[in-house]
């Protein structure tokens, strides 16, 4: 067989089945959404919140799957319980906010894991932890498509105001930007994105799509709007590459995607650091050879 034909077969082989084509569409949609929103998650230092929200979802998801209810409903209920628990725990005197969140989220995640791993629980629940992108339904795809439309629309409209907060939160009110409204909006968008993405990418790995692509994009761009576009592009390409990896290496899809995305960031970070060191070395005048002893 001609080499270019072999390459073509290699590239198209994974997508001969409807199952994998749906997975491809799902990760492309989630990549666009996660990459764009992730830019703001990183800029607003919300990485910890994203991780916490994702983990707090777990008992709700497990509960819903045990009861045979829609996972989306279960996840939403889980988030609601977590929000109330965090608010209550935050009022306990002597317990600071971060600690309160950590306590609540760890407790909820532990509960979810306990339920998921108990012998009575039907198989397939580890899909909730590591994702089951090959098992996405038409509803899941429609939700992901809706998420992209809503998210890109909201981020486009709010972009100027989010920029104001990102640069200087304290001066934002003087520039006519309500910080509380914007914070709540970003957190709600984050919660919705996690709810939609968690089934495909898994509870433990979903945050990788929110954090790694924008971190990598930040190394390549100097303004926010291009950074968000590059972040989405990296997320999409990385997610598709992850699916190839999963197909040919037989690894779990969610884990493969997370590995490719984090790997991309690490390679880029090392590359830019090396490039910076190189330009420094070039611009420095060559040092005089040290006076060697005779």
């Amino acid at each position: 067989m001609h080499p270019s034909l072999a390459l073509l077969t290699w590239l198209t082989d994974p997508w001969t089945e409807a199952l994998t084509r749906r997975a491809l569409l799902e990760v492309v949609l989630l990549g666009i959404a996660g990459g764009a929103l992730g830019g703001w998650v990183v800029s607003f230092n919300l990485g910890y919140s994203a991780e916490s929200l994702a983990h707090a979802l777990l008992p709700g998801l497990v509960g819903a799957s045990l009861l045979g209810a829609p996972l989306l409903l279960g996840g939403a209920a889980g988030l609601l319980v977590a929000a109330v628990a965090v608010a209550v725990a935050g009022r306990i005197p002597g317990l600071d906010r971060d600690t309160a969140v950590a306590v609540v989220v760890t407790a909820l995640f532990g509960l979810g894991a306990l339920l998921a791993l108990s012998p009575d629980t039907p198989a397939g629940l580890q899909g909730l932890l590591f994702g089951d992108v090959l098992g996405v339904s038409d509803t899941d795809l429609a939700l992901a498509g809706g998420l992209v439309v809503v998210l890109v629309g909201a981020l486009t409209v709010l972009h100027p105001r989010l920029l104001v907060i990102g640069l200087d939160r304290l001066s934002a009110p003087a520039l006519g930007v309500r910080t509380l409204t914007m914070d709540v909006t970003v957190l709600v968008l984050l919660a919705v994105t996690l709810l939609v993405a968690v089934q495909g990418l898994g509870n433990l790995l979903v945050v990788a799509v929110l954090i790694a692509p924008p971190s990598a994009a930040r190394l390549l761009t100097r303004r926010m709007a291009p950074m968000l576009v590059v972040s989405s592009a990296i997320a999409v390409v990385g997610a598709v590459a992850g699916l190839y990896l999963s197909y040919y290496a037989g690894t779990a899809a969610g884990a493969s995607i997370a590995a490719v995305l984090v790997g991309t960031y690490l390679v880029l970070a090392a590359g830019t650091a090396a490039a910076a060191a190189l330009t420094r070395a070039r611009t420095r005048p060559t040092p005089e050879p040290a006076g060697a002893p005779a």
Binding site: V157, P160, L163, L167, D168, S171, A174, L175, R218, R222
Partner: protein, 266 residues
């Protein structure tokens, strides 16, 4: 020595026909617990350039934040007839945030627009022109965090210009500016006042304050408000809580030098 009680009576500025932009009566400002600044009696008219004088902690920034609506008045009344633009005092911006100087100047447009509207082409032109007015036209596309401290300060002035508000509050805008930039900013402030805007400018430079015509002296309470003539030795002493020593310097002419209060044996 004057009785300090005399000084609390505000001297009204010369009556003019210009419209009133801002009026404060018996205003006390603070951060919830108690007032840190009391007795503010102030009428800002279109075209006024008011120098706000006071020691560190005198209440200049607190007054600005109250006028902006960021802080609720502790007591008294505050009538604001128009929008305020602001150049904040301290450099609080995140320098690692990926925005250009033009992006930052353009942020001024956000305060004029409803939440669903994005700044348009006209705003963009305005932002470039504003950067030109502060002498940064050729730096418009540079990353904000890569500019020098004085350049960033000037970008924030440009942002206030883009806000295009009838009232402009500038909190120590001359800090960190070189001589050329300071001259340019003086010209700009004059131009803004000529356009019929009301300006409140916090400064530590008494000579500059004399040039601007109207002064507001604060030291935990309002010490004086009115024409620069109110800047007598006793007013300056009450403002800065020290002893004023006259120095006739051959180079700089007549100067008032404020010494700390414990230098009384002079």
């Amino acid at each position: 020595m004057h009785d300090p009680a005399d000084l609390t009576t505000p001297t009204p500025p010369p009556a003019t026909a210009a419209p009133v932009l801002l009026r404060a009566a018996g205003l006390a400002c603070g951060y919830g617990a108690g007032a840190v600044l009391t007795g503010v009696e102030l009428t800002l008219r279109a075209g006024d350039r008011v120098a706000v004088l006071g020691p560190n902690g005198g209440g200049k920034t607190t007054l600005f934040r109250t006028l902006l609506g960021e802080l609720e008045p502790v007591s008294g009344t505050l009538e604001r007839q128009a929008r305020c633009a602001v150049v904040p005092q301290t450099e609080r911006s995140r320098l690692d945030f990926p925005v250009s100087a033009l992006d930052v100047a353009l942020m001024g447009a956000v305060s004029r627009l409803p939440w669903w509207r994005r700044p348009g082409k006209a705003d963009r032109r305005l932002a470039r022109a504003a950067l030109g007015q502060v002498g940064l036209a050729e730096h418009a596309d540079r990353t904000f965090g890569d500019l020098s401290g004085g350049q960033r300060q000037r970008v924030l002035v440009a942002r206030a210009l883009v806000q295009d508000a009838p009232i402009v509050l500038l909190d120590e805008p001359f800090t960190g500016l070189d001589a050329v930039s300071a001259d340019r900013l003086e010209q700009l402030l004059l131009q803004l006042a000529d356009e019929g805007r009301g300006l409140l400018i916090a400064t530590h430079d008494v000579e500059q304050a004399r040039r601007w015509g109207t002064v507001l002296c604060l030291n935990k309470r309002q010490i004086a408000y009115g024409h620069a003539d109110v800047l007598t030795r006793s007013v300056l002493e009450a403002t800065y809580g020290g002893e004023i020593v006259d120095i006739d310097c051959a180079v700089h002419g007549h100067h008032d030098v404020v010494l700390p209060a414990h230098h009384h044996e002079h």
